[in-house]
Amino acid sequence: MYDISSYLNAGSTDEALELLQNRPEARIIAGGTDILIRLREGKHRGAALVDISGIEDLSRVWLDADNTLHIGPLQSFRALERNELIKDLLPGLAAAASVVGGPQVRAAATIGGNICNGATSADSASTLFCANAELVLTSPGGERIVEIADFYKGPGKVDLKAGELLTDIIVQEKDYRGFTGHYMKFSQREAMDIATLGCAVMVRTSEEILEEVRIAYGVAGPTPRRCPEAEMALKGTPLNRENLDLFAELVKKELLTRDSWRGSKEYRDHLAGVLARRGLAKLTGQGDCDHDTEN
């Protein structure tokens, strides 16, 4: 039994914005896989919920005339992991979508909800960090676009103002064209788990040269984070074992991991190196990181 004072369905973005404007205290429900858990824990007593799950405009994945990729925030993880465009252009995101929770959670949970909850462990976030995703936030006053790295403000905190709705997730062509990508979720269990460490890697190579390497981690700090210096160090270098090892060492210096009862800082740092090396090796055909590190 949930303590809910009202439950309103929005049929369109405009209707959702209107409902939110009239009820500043209202909370948005899409897949419900986070908000219902919090309600069950006794948080947000007497919550007013605005259900946006029926807004069809917000659940499309498409390319516009500039080849910019648009990901509707209401895309469920199940839809994402099966989406041909995503598998083709952002394979790392498809991989991340495939390891969220379990089948039931993936069927209900949306990528927009995953991002707006602001959790560092969000499986979809690391890849979006690698892809320099931009978020379109809509309010009755208009739209603003925020880079994902700026959207995350702290644990559970995002730059989403009252009355605003995440309406689009954008990835520019330069951020996917020529890249391969992968996501490794290191968790104790192979399903229904939270990452001890999540790691997204994207790489563009040419003739055994690493033209560009991008890496982002979840649970390596209060928000997902990239490792720009490690990425820079590998830019333009040849693909070889020494560079893999160097990369594995460098990434650790840019993380803000910490000790918790879920895992020690030392262990997470160590894992970060292992995943960096394995991820890069897989994407460059040097080894198989899927051996035992993820689903």
């Binding site: 949930y2 379990g102 290191f186 104790q188 192979e190 895992g263 894992l271 292992v274 040097q286 080894g287």
Partner: protein, 794 residues
Amino acid sequence: MLSKRFLTGILASKSQKISRIDPLKNTHIGSSPQRKDALAKVTGRAKYTADMDMRGMLHGKIFRSTIAHGRVTSLDCSRAEALEGVVAVVTYDDCRGIVFPTAGHPYAIPPARNDRADRNLLTDRIRLYGDEIAAVVAEDPVTAEKALELIEVEYEEYPFYLDPEDAVKEDAVHIHDGGNILGQNSLSLGEEDPEEVFKEAAHIIEDIYESPQVQHCHMENHICYAYKDDADRIVVVSSTQIPHIARRIMAHAFSMPFSKFRVIKPVIGGGFGNKQDVVLEPLTAFLTMKCSGRPVMIDLSREECMAWTRSRHGMRHYMKTGVDRSGRIIAKTLKSYGTNGAYASHCHSVVAKQGGDFLRHYPASRGSSFQGYTVYTNTATAGAMRGYGIPQINFAVESHMDDVARAIGMDPVEFRKINVIKEGQADPVGKLKLDSYGLSACFEKGLEYIGWEKKRELYKDQTGEFRRGIGFASFGYATGVWPISQEIAGARITMNQDGTVQLQVGATELGQGSTTVFCQMAAETLGISYEMVNLNSTTDTDMDPFDTGAYASRQTFVTGNAVHEAAVQLKAKVLARAAARLEREADSLDIRDARIVEAESGADLIGLDEIALDSYYHLPDSGVMTADVSTQTKTNPQSWGVTVAEVEVDMQTGKVKVLDICNIHDCGRVLNPLLAEGQVQGGMSMSLGFGLSEIMLYDPNTGRPLNNNLLDYKLPTSMDTPELGVKFTPVHENSAAYGSKSLGEPPAISPASAVRNAVLHASGVGINSLPINPQKLFEAFKKADVLNKETINV
């Protein structure tokens, strides 16, 4: 003290009872008919406690402490009482003096031998974080929850103890009057003092092994509702393994006649020992008394169920073993500390039982001793959990067996074969003679399955990033509680007018399939089809005969004997009536396929249905044919088995993947192969969680449970579980009516140990504390300097 005669091994006298079925000639025993409850369960028609809503049902919620140890100095419930929809708020002040033990043990005579009564319905003396101070009853669950938030409480705090060895320190605050040692015992076996024998040992190996408190995680949480019926009696509907015992505990707790209580157990979603205690029943009964007999339900959340019902005892084992030059264990000692948590529950039984197993399974040739302590701590109350202390000691002993074998340069299985209890040896601890013994066959089957010698060699000296290993572990386990406790069971059979029968038992169906197997048994002995036997899986203390319940892997064995006895009696009545009608001698007749036949020739004489109809309506001579028995069982056969496992260890991340695992069991006769296989697989899965991922964590600064939810408590999912191999050795136990021994708990004993030893084989690192999770392996690999620093295997 046990004497030396148990050491040298006495030939067990052959069978205490003559087996009552012919192992070669039976129709239903050994087959796998469809479970009686299969369709109801898969279609959702089965009614669990939560499905049985009543008009006017009220909902109870428990107000819990937010300190781990101390006492309540003030409590203000006035705002909660004033909330609209709240019917009652009760506190410790309303129920002082209602004190009871909670364990689902048979009552003991003399009463002094019973479990410690240390539980109050509600308490102001706080013994763990989440202790139960007050209860709110409201018209709906949300209102009850809101009311909890309005209760104000102040505490005086005491230091709290999460570790038993902290709680036994001299200056520790007593969690209960009488001190923090709840129970202790020592036991020795062999004539000599092991400490003296150690001086002559070629090798002495000492180590400490630990396993944590873990949770049962049955699918259905604890749930219970109670109301007063038309006769002013209290009806308690509960998801319990022990309906008859729950009734007794409540009658004693409230000092009311037994007849005032009726306990009903509907379909249950698992228990694993956590429902072998009264947990919600007395409080729920009390709440209905306080609400004019209106029905009150308490439905624990998963979080409450995980933190505040029962758990497996955490244990620490100090183990020392002396071995001679031939690899024979000549002396060994064990000191065990059991983490009992805040309330007595099963008292010292669990720690004591595992001490006996230590002495029994690999007996030392000259001297051995055990010393055990069960200690109150400010953690979740430990009680019964599948295996009852044996999974913990098995992890310690089986790890130690590998460690000793390694230290003396012997193959770990060879070392076990030299030392393991042999056929014909008496059980040195329970002093019971052993009948069937299939352990050697289990060893051989297991070694063959895994390819022991070949793979031990193949996986030697690996250097890669991913390394493989195989491991072995063996166990023995009792079937019931005799002679420590009473073993009694009831069965009643009534023949219907068409020859079908109504079977009633006091045994508890909790998902293990007892209903199905009892029907197979009755069908077997009565000579009728499985479909002709009906057994309602609900237990109702008003209707069903007395049985102490489902625990100790006793049900099939002990209640099976009662079903057999009732079926034999009923059959005699049928044959007597048939003999009169047919004008033949009763002992020349038999029942086969629901027909009366000539026993010797098998010639068909008359249908059972005609005889049954006669018994109801024969004008001059009618009388419904029934049998109603209560039987006592005074044997306790040991079942046996082994686990073999193959793992792959990620030497960089510390992750263990179980590639292959197989349990081989001697459980006596396998009565229903499909159910038996399911039972084994469930136990193996439980043990894999125990071995690799499960642990109840507490905040060291506050004593608050950290992971009492299914996200942070790493119960394995189906994705984490490999194919679970199951094999049986064909053995017949003569002291059981249908030849079977325990199988409920045994599967959960040895998989964790075998996996631990496989990890040792793969990595060269032996982990002495559970669970063997990635963080722990990482630290151990780092310490042993085997953390793989290589790059990818290309």
